[in-house]
């Protein structure tokens, strides 16, 4: 029988929350830093709105990266992929079982008598 597919072949069926947070944090921290830093670097100056554009874009990108990890949600594509692997393995098992059963059914035991021989206690 073919061995069951190893775990490493399967894809996660639910989004990874830790990975999502790891993607979110740099985006939000960098976005906030870009918005705030001009106040510290150029005290007393009137900073332009350019920092809001870039800081906002970085923050939005971080949030988008967070959701791209589907934190805690079912991932239908991965579930379908895993189901295909399992079904393929089950089909292989069924097919091999069927072939083995056929082979067992078709096999015959033929006993051919050989030349008679005399066996005694003196025979080595």
């Amino acid at each position: 029988m073919p061995p069951a597919p190893p775990d490493s072949l399967f894809r996660p069926e639910r989004g990874n929350t830790n990975g999502a947070v790891r993607a979110l944090v740099p985006g939000v921290v960098a976005g906030a830093a870009i918005v705030v830093l001009p106040k510290l670097v150029a005290t007393g100056e009137r900073a332009s709105k350019a920092r809001l554009i870039v800081g906002g874009a970085v923050t939005i990108a971080g949030v988008a990266a967070f959701f791209s990890h589907h934190p805690g949600q079912r991932i239908p594509a991965n579930a379908q992929y895993n189901r295909n692997i399992r079904e393929s393995w089950q089909r292989n098992v069924a097919e091999i079982s069927r072939r083995n059963a056929d082979r067992a059914r078709q096999s015959r035991m033929i006993i051919r008598p050989g030349a008679p021989s005399l066996v005694t206690s003196e025979t080595p």
Binding site: P26, G27, A30, V41, A47, R51, V54, A57, V58, A61
Partner: protein, 213 residues
């Protein structure tokens, strides 16, 4: 074609192969930026804006890095100002070390020169910098923030002592499946000397060949 231009094209063509042969990674990129300058001379303040075009390159060998950037353009005074337009040339050459996978430390000079009619104003600032990087989507999207402070500096001729600090940050995104990346960046630097102060902000778009680091 002039000989020096031929040499430049030959170097540009051969550099990638030579760098790879030495185990050195590199990035090169073009930059376009809208610059906003607030200039204070004594009690007079002028605001300028203009387009700066430039190029940058980074060589990365294991943990050591070299970064150069050059840009030039013209900035015009905002309406209502009597100041003259300025031709701007700026650049930096930095040596860096990757302290951790996400933190790099840099040091080196940054220069900025204005030409205003017949006069020049040149700022030369030696800086120490720290750059932090974060990955949003591995191999596709990353962010960075850099902070710097002046170690020493001067402006003008005869030179007078100058100082300053600055920051830049932004978002880098891989363009398609190739080796090109796009960067949306924001940079601010504030340099000062007795009776002078310049605050320069830039909103930049860059296209970079190679993984930015």
């Amino acid at each position: 074609m002039k000989p020096y231009l031929c040499a430049l094209v030959a170097c540009a063509a051969l550099l990638p192969a030579a760098a790879r042969a030495q185990g050195v990674q590199f990035t090169v990129g073009g930059i376009a930026g809208q610059e906003i300058v607030q200039s204070h001379i004594d009690q007079v303040t002028d605001r300028f804006t203009g387009l700066i075009l430039g190029a940058e390159g980074v060589l990365i060998s294991d943990r050591l890095m070299v970064r150069v950037r050059y840009g030039e353009g013209r900035i015009n005074p905002k309406s209502g100002s009597s100041a003259d337009p300025r031709e701007v040339v700026e650049g930096e050459a930095l040596f860096g070390v990757r302290a951790t996978p996400w933190l790099s430390l840099w040091a080196g000079p940054g220069a900025r020169a204005y030409t205003m009619g017949d006069t020049d104003q040149r700022w030369l600032i030696w800086t120490a910098r720290a750059t932090g990087r974060g990955t949003l989507l591995p191999g596709r999207m990353q962010t960075f923030v850099e902070l710097w402070g002046a170690v020493s500096g001067n402006v003008g001729n005869p030179p007078i002592k100058a100082g300053g600090r600055g920051a830049n940050g932004g978002l880098e995104m891989r363009l398609g499946d190739g080796n090109f990346w796009g960067r949306l960046g924001y940079r601010i630097e504030s340099t000062h000397a007795p009776s002078l102060r310049e605050t320069v902000e830039s909103l930049t778009l860059s296209v970079i060949y190679g993984v930015p680091q």
